[in-house]
């Protein structure tokens, strides 16, 4: 019973972060048609910024959500506005743009990674945050993990409300389903694409802040997160935003189960799941 709850908590902990990460990538791929291979680098930058803010200025990491998140949003805005929008203007065919934008993101990955390594060095860093246990009834939880889990679920829930209840959120979903039809409704598609890319970076920012509360950081940590986000995106259905939310939690629970049985095999299990999905359910859970 207790081990079942542990699996669930571990699963929700990772699941929440996965969901946030994957929703970010989905915003960029599903709407802006940019498979942002550099997504994990945005997460890494956010994690390092949080570490800096916490260790030098003593700012509470939870408060960092409200500082680092907006910084990443602006960063995403600038990247889409100056890099990908220009690229799009020079690559009129959508298929060619999808390919070229991935290459561009690849370049961005190495630029960000090298700059980060230049600034923060190659060492592994980290900080202690709420490293004590709390008891709910009989069961012991690491306090920081509980905070991460609850925050991630709240962020996902708020984002879901934003997408389903607000005018802009509805326009984002409409644009991801049929951009031309959305334009005919009066949606300024170009602005929408930039907004979606920036929101994707915001999500990367939140994920980075949360990760830094529990895990050690190095400037090469990004790639793994990008790959997991891609797996979740395939699991949920390419470009489907609700699919990414649900897929994140499913992969998280999957992680909880596998790591409960044999922690050394989680990576192998992920890639196996990924390959099986491509073979048997390539359209994903929510795919069209």
């Amino acid at each position: 019973m207790i081990s079942f709850i542990n699996i669930l908590v571990n699963g929700l902990l990772m699941g929440g972060i996965y969901a946030i990460t994957a929703v970010g990538l989905s915003m960029q791929y599903g709407v802006a048609r940019i498979l942002n291979i550099a997504h994990g680098e945005f997460i890494m930058v956010a994690a390092f910024l949080t570490w800096m803010l916490h260790t030098t200025l003593g700012i509470n990491p939870i408060l960092c959500l409200a500082i680092v998140g907006p910084i990443l949003f602006v960063l995403g805005y600038l990247v889409r506005h100056y890099l990908f929008k220009t690229l799009k203007e020079k690559t009129p065919s959508p298929a060619a743009f999808e390919g070229n934008s991935m290459l561009m993101a690849f370049g961005l990955l190495f630029v960000i990674q090298s700059l980060a390594t230049y600034i923060w060095g190659k060492n592994i860093v980290g900080y202690d945050f709420m490293r004590y246990s709390v008891y709910l009834g009989e069961i012991r939880f690491a306090a920081n993990r509980l905070v991460i889990m609850i925050t991630a679920v709240i962020i996902c829930f708020l984002f879901y409300l934003f997408l389903t209840k607000t005018r802009t959120g509805k326009a984002i979903r409409a644009s991801s389903q049929d951009p031309d039809a959305a334009a005919l409704m009066g949606v300024d598609i170009n602005r929408m694409l930039t907004l979606c890319f920036a929101l994707g970076a915001l999500m990367a920012g939140f994920a980075g802040v949360l990760l830094s509360m529990e895990y050690k950081l190095d400037t090469f940590m990004g790639m793994g997160h990008t790959i997991i986000a891609i797996i979740v995106m395939v699991l949920g259905g390419l470009g489907s935003i609700p699919g990414s939310l649900v897929g994140g939690f499913i992969l998280g629970i999957f992680y909880g189960i596998v790591s409960g049985i044999e922690p050394g095999l989680t990576e192998a299990a992920y890639y196996l799941l990924f390959m099986l999905l491509l073979l048997f359910k390539p359209s994903g859970l929510f795919g069209r």
Binding site: R167, K170, A171, R173, A174, Q177, D178, D180, A181, A182, A183, L184, M185, G186, V187, D188, I189, S240, R288
Partner: protein
Amino acid sequence: MLEVKNLNVFYGNVQVLWDVCLRVEEGEIVALVGANGAGKTTLLNAITGLVKPASGSVTFMGQDITGLPPNAVVELGISYFPEGGRLFPDMSILENLEMGAFIKSSWKKRKERLEKVYQIFPLLKERRKQMAKTLSGGERQMLAMGRVLMSDPKLGLFDELSYGMAPKLVKESFKMLQKLRDNGLTILLNEQNVKQSLEIADRAYVLENGRIVSGGSCEELLHSDHVRKAYLGL
């Protein structure tokens, strides 16, 4: 109200519209007829900004709208029913209708607009929570039509409204267009269904291989030898 002058449109190097001229006056139903591939959809796409014309001009209520992006064109009061309806498949009927009122001036009034559209299509109200992708062909057409009305447009462009519909529904939807016109909507209609559209329209243009080959009152066209031979099979 709408004036298209010497419009030329290319896809890559291929020219698909040649010096197209056309007028629509306020309160009219104007039909644009022509065979598959004649360029009817391209013409509507050029008017609404989905494709950019190489030369020529489009004027709406005295304002030059040539090359404006689609979102700016809607704001001026032109609403487009694109070929196949183009609903948002993973959104409900209600959300599709709300998207029809996306522009700022309509968004504030979307509750009233919804009531209007529900009055015209009561079925949409009953099913408002249903996803668009689960609707039948006729229901989709109805929803797409309702969505066009949500922005309270002055001019409605309808591309192949009757496509894939059962004959009885075709009659009904053409009647609906007449009703909308009587309520103040000016209409430009693309149709392969030549006979029926000439029956409800005031005037029509015939488009062949990207050129307007004749235009005039529907009465005249229905009696012209060319139209009778080429489109009515008489």
